[in-house]
Symmetry: D2
Subunit: 141 residues, 4 copies
């Protein structure tokens, strides 16, 4: 299952080279992630208030083609890996049928007491699982 | 007395029109304000940790001339008004002798218990006073 | 007539004080302005490509109440003043019935050849007029 | 050889979780890159004006420890790979002796006429080389 998030490229996303500044895509990816988590019943606000923390431990991006001012973008979001203590969100940025960029963010679940990585709560795992691509070999963390 | 803060216009400050996006100047002004406050012994970090809060209640900007990528900017910071429960910071953005923009931010001191505007602490007032322009009539809030 | 623009407060809009960083509202206001202009047939992208420029000459904000992470915000946009060479956009930020902030941005029309303020094109004026509050005295620039 | 770039974590870098928002580090890394390029005689402004373009084709980050408001950060910048048509900049974010994050950005040189990846100009290669780690096997693109 995929989650779709839509936004439009705004003037402040661009720089004087005329295209979207590369770092902006990580912000849009996180906006998509927030909207996705809320739709999956895992609103970040409630989690932060409960002391639960899912910091980004790793992020990466492949920029295939530039994004331009005014373009309508669809972010297709899936869970690329659902590990023991972390999960990886894959964000595909599309304009029409064209893929412009692919981003990944790895979120680690920290135990609220120790601050150390710990097993994803069962409820969270269950809510994320429908968006996880079927792993051929089912490898964990 | 004036406080000087320097920065350089970076690519991400600009937009596709080729000049600095107007909202960015408020961010740079706040960076200048943070550096100023720290230099005056009023570091924002320590204040936030102590529950003290100086939220921006009003902000305004006059954009006289565009700022361009790579330009070296000096922000001349003064206290334009030192009131009973708030103070106004004036930020003059200069490139060389040329004034490009003038911003103002009004910071209100909130009582940590009630969350309501209350009298600026004497120590804070004393530290800000040297940067306050002599008020002709000395009018308060 | 009013134009409505909706957005949700995202994690990156907030700062460690737990509420939206004041400068972010100017960015959201400009996003609202871009959406409004496009809906009025005055897309900024096409204007920039045609060499037409409407830089922000003045901006101001009154912050009444903080905006918090996750809140759904409606920006009510009107033309507060439709002058000879410039117009003022008023942005009211609401959560439910509560007004949290009021921003204004003044946009000046620059002649593409001289780069100097010049009369707003008739077509632009006609498209903006329905969103202009009826001026009691009809005063120009 | 390494290039050092210094900055201080500002309020707007942080989010309500109290630490720097992950995407902000890419912006700071690009600021470091701009300062580095200027110091190496490869100012981005002059290049953009000459139609030369070095877009980011890939970016990645490992976040080891959070960065906090007010912390003084040193970015140690090196050229991790100097390829035929691209180069990789490695950014190590340190507070004191502690490494908090490691970022990489891959910049591709586009031929100003074709817009396609093409060989890095000899002068650019010569200016970047002193900052390149000695490649054990000397592999190209």
């Amino acid at each position: 299952m995929k989650y779709e998030y839509r936004f439009q490229v705004r003037l402040h996303d661009t720089d004087r080279a005329g295209v979207v500044f590369f770092a902006r895509l990580f912000t849009h990816a996180h906006d998509a992630y927030e909207a996705f988590m809320a739709s999956a019943g895992l609103g970040l606000g409630a989690m932060i208030e409960a002391g639960l923390c899912l910091p980004v431990a790793h992020a990466s991006a492949d920029y295939l083609l530039p994004l331009r001012h005014g373009e309508a973008v669809v972010v297709m979001l899936t869970i690329a890996r659902l590990g023991q203590t972390s999960f990886t969100v894959a964000h595909e940025f599309r304009c029409g049928a064209e893929v412009r960029a692919r981003l990944q963010t790895v979120h680690v679940f920290l135990d609220p007491r120790s601050g150390r990585p710990s097993a994803l709560p069962q409820d969270m795992r269950a809510r994320l699982a429908p968006f996880a691509a079927p792993a051929p070999g089912g490898k964990a963390d």
